[in-house]
Symmetry: C2
Subunit: 339 residues, 2 copies
C-alpha cells in the first residue's frame, strides 16, 4: 500500500464507491452523516486508539480510555454536534489484570459523563496491544453542521485556545525533556487529560457564525492545510497562537516556537473561520460557553498556509504533523479516507 | 484476561458502567440502541472481520469485504432493522496491491447495494492483517424491535432455513475434506457468499409475530443457548434442521449429523420464537418475503437446550461454537459484552 500511495488509494476508493445522495457531509470531512428527513442528519464517527502509537509512557489506563473517547468527541465538537451515544470495542492485552480493567472502564464512564452521552454497547476481545475503538452517534441539522469546506477569502481565522503545550508534554514523556515547573504541570495535563471543546463548538455552530471548522488533533499546521484544501482558500497566520508560558519555555530550551506551535499534535482545540461581519457575535457566543476566541489570522485567495512574523517576513507552514509519533507510524499512516 | 475469565470481565464492566435509561435494547443483545423520541430508536452495530480468524483459505478479497458487511447486516436482520448507512475502517496489509484493493472495495459496494444501504465514511490504515471493521446505523421502533429476551414456554421455535452447509464448506476449505459434487457447490457458496436474511427479518418484525430472535453466526447451538439465557426458557429441538443434501453427505463422510447441524458457524439464518396462535401468519409473512419458515421445536420451562431424536431419546445440546475457528481464537475470544 505504501507503494500505491495514500492519494492513489483514496482515488481508487472514490472511483468505485461514488457518493451516496443521502450522505452529508460527503466523504472526507471529520464525521460522516446520513440525511434522515427534513433537515435532520444522523452523525456517525469512529476512530481507534492503539496503545503503541497513541499512548505515551506515563499515561494510565484511565487516561488512555478517556482519551479514546475525547478524540472522537473533539471531531464532533468541530462540527458542532453533541454526541448522544457511543459503542466501544476493547482489545485487551493479557497482562491488563482486574485493576487495569477497572481503571479503563472508569475512564470510559467518566469521559461519557463529562461530555453527556451514554455508553450503549460494544464488545471485548483479547489483543496483544491495548485497542479502544469508539463509534459515536449524534444528530445535527443541515443548516447547523459546520463543514471543512466553507471558508472564504477574508474570513477571520480563529482558535479556541493556544498551542504548544502538548508538543512540550510529549517531548517530556517520550524523550525525557526537562520542563520548567510553571509549564510542566500544564503540559502534562494537556497530554494526559485532554479536553474536547464541545460546548463552545456546539454553541458556535448553532449561532451560525462559523464558515468552516476542524479540530487540531493532528497539529495546527495539518488542520490549516486540511481546511485550505477543503475550502479552496489559503491562510495567513499573523499571530503565533502559543499557550501561556510556552514561548518562554521554548526559548529557554532552545526550541523554535514556530515548530512548537504548528507541528504539535494530540491537541484538541478548534480551528475555525468566521465571517468578519459576525466576529463580535462569535466572540460573545464563545464567551458565554466559557472560551476566549483567539483571532490568529485570515483566509486569503491563494491556496497554501503562511505565517507572517512581526518583521513582516512570510514563512510557509508545511503540511506535516507531529514528528515523534510520525516515526512510530501514526500520523502519516492515518488519514480520513473513504469509505 | 484469560485468568479473569469472560464472565468476570462482563461483571466488572456492568458494575462500573450501569445501564443508561436511554439505552434500548440494554447491554448484551445483538445490537445497541438509543431512544430518540416517541418510540423511535437509533440502532448501532459494530463488528470486525479479521482475516486470520474470519477468512478461510480460498476466500477472495471481494468475498471477505462482502462478508464483513453481511455479518453485521445479519445481526440487524435478526432484530428486524433495516440498515441505512455504514462506516468501514480498513486495515490493509502491505501486499494487498491495487488489484486486491479494487476487489475489496467492489465487495463493500456490492454488499451495500444488495442490502440497500449507503457507505458514508470510514478510514484506512496499514495493518499486518487484513481488518474490515464496520459500523451500521439503522432506525427501529420500540414495538417492532425483536429482542433476545422475549421467548415464552410454549412458543414455536423456527428458523429461516437449514444448517450444516457451512460446517461442510469450512471443513473442505480448511482441512481439504472432499465433498460430493451435489453438495460441494452449495457448501462453498454458503461459506464464501453468505446471505443475511434481511427482508424476512424485517417483515416478521413488522408483523409482530416474533417473541425473540437471534442470528446463527456462532452456530445453532450457541444461538439457542443465548436465546435460552436471555429469555429464561429452555428449548426442545424436535427436528434436526439440516439443509438439503447435508444428511446424505454427512452420512457418506461418517460425520455425526447432530454435530454438523448444531456446531457449525458462520451461518446467517435467523433463529426465532413465534407465538403459537400466530404461527400461520408468520409462515405467510415469511413466504411473502420468499422464505419458507421451518418449525424445529418449541420453548419449554426448564432452561437448557435438548434435541429429541426420532426414537424419543433426549440429547443435550452443549453451549459451544464451531471447533475449527475456536482453536484459532475466534469464537471463544469473542463475546457480546458491554460497554
Amino acid at each position: 500500500m505504501a507503494e500505491l500511495g495514500e492519494r492513489k488509494v483514496i482515488e481508487i476508493i472514490f472511483s468505485i464507491l461514488g457518493e451516496s445522495p443521502n450522505a452529508f457531509p460527503g466523504l472526507g470531512d471529520d464525521v460522516a452523516g446520513w440525511r434522515l428527513w427534513d433537515d435532520l442528519i444522523a452523525i456517525l464517527k469512529r476512530d481507534m486508539l492503539v496503545a503503541s502509537t497513541d499512548v505515551p509512557p506515563g499515561m494510565t489506563y484511565y487516561q488512555a480510555a478517556r482519551k479514546a473517547l475525547v478524540m472522537n468527541v473533539s471531531d464532533l465538537a468541530a462540527k458542532g454536534v453533541r454526541p448522544l451515544a457511543a459503542l466501544t470495542s476493547l482489545g485487551l492485552p493479557g497482562d491488563l489484570g482486574e485493576g487495569g480493567l477497572r481503571e479503563l472502564i472508569r475512564g470510559l464512564r467518566d469521559a461519557s459523563r463529562e461530555y453527556g452521552f451514554s455508553l450503549i454497547g460494544g464488545d471485548t476481545n483479547e489483543c496483544p496491544d491495548l485497542v479502544i475503538a469508539c463509534s459515536l452517534f449524534g444528530l445535527s441539522r443541515e443548516g447547523e453542521l459546520v463543514l471543512r469546506s466553507g471558508a472564504r477569502p477574508g474570513d477571520i481565522l480563529a482558535t479556541t485556545g493556544g498551542f504548544g503545550l502538548t508538543y512540550l508534554g510529549l517531548k517530556a514523556l517520550l524523550e525525557g525533556l526537562e520542563l520548567g515547573g510553571g509549564v510542566r504541570k500544564e503540559a502534562l495535563r494537556a497530554v494526559l487529560m485532554p479536553k474536547a471543546r464541545l460546548e463552545v463548538g456546539v454553541a458556535l455552530a448553532r449561532s451560525g457564525v462559523l464558515t468552516s471548522s476542524i479540530d487540531s488533533s493532528d497539529g495546527l499546521a495539518w488542520s490549516l492545510h486540511e481546511l485550505s484544501r477543503a475550502s479552496g482558500v489559503g491562510f495567513l497566520v499573523e499571530d503565533l497562537p502559543l499557550a501561556q508560558g510556552v514561548l518562554e519555555e521554548a526559548t529557554r530550551l532552545g526550541l523554535d516556537p514556530f515548530e512548537v506551535c504548528f507541528y504539535g499534535g494530540e491537541e484538541y482545540e478548534l480551528v475555525m473561520t468566521v465571517e468578519p461581519a459576525r466576529w463580535e457575535e462569535a466572540v460573545e457566543v464563545a464567551q458565554e460557553a466559557g472560551v476566549e476566541l483567539r483571532k490568529i489570522g485570515r483566509a486569503v485567495e491563494e491556496p497554501g498556509v503562511w505565517f507572517k512574523g512581526p518583521d513582516g517576513h512570510l514563512r510557509p507552514v508545511e503540511a506535516r504533523g507531529w514528528e515523534h509519533f510520525r516515526a512510530r507510524g501514526r500520523h502519516h499512516g492515518r488519514s480520513s479516507l473513504p469509505p
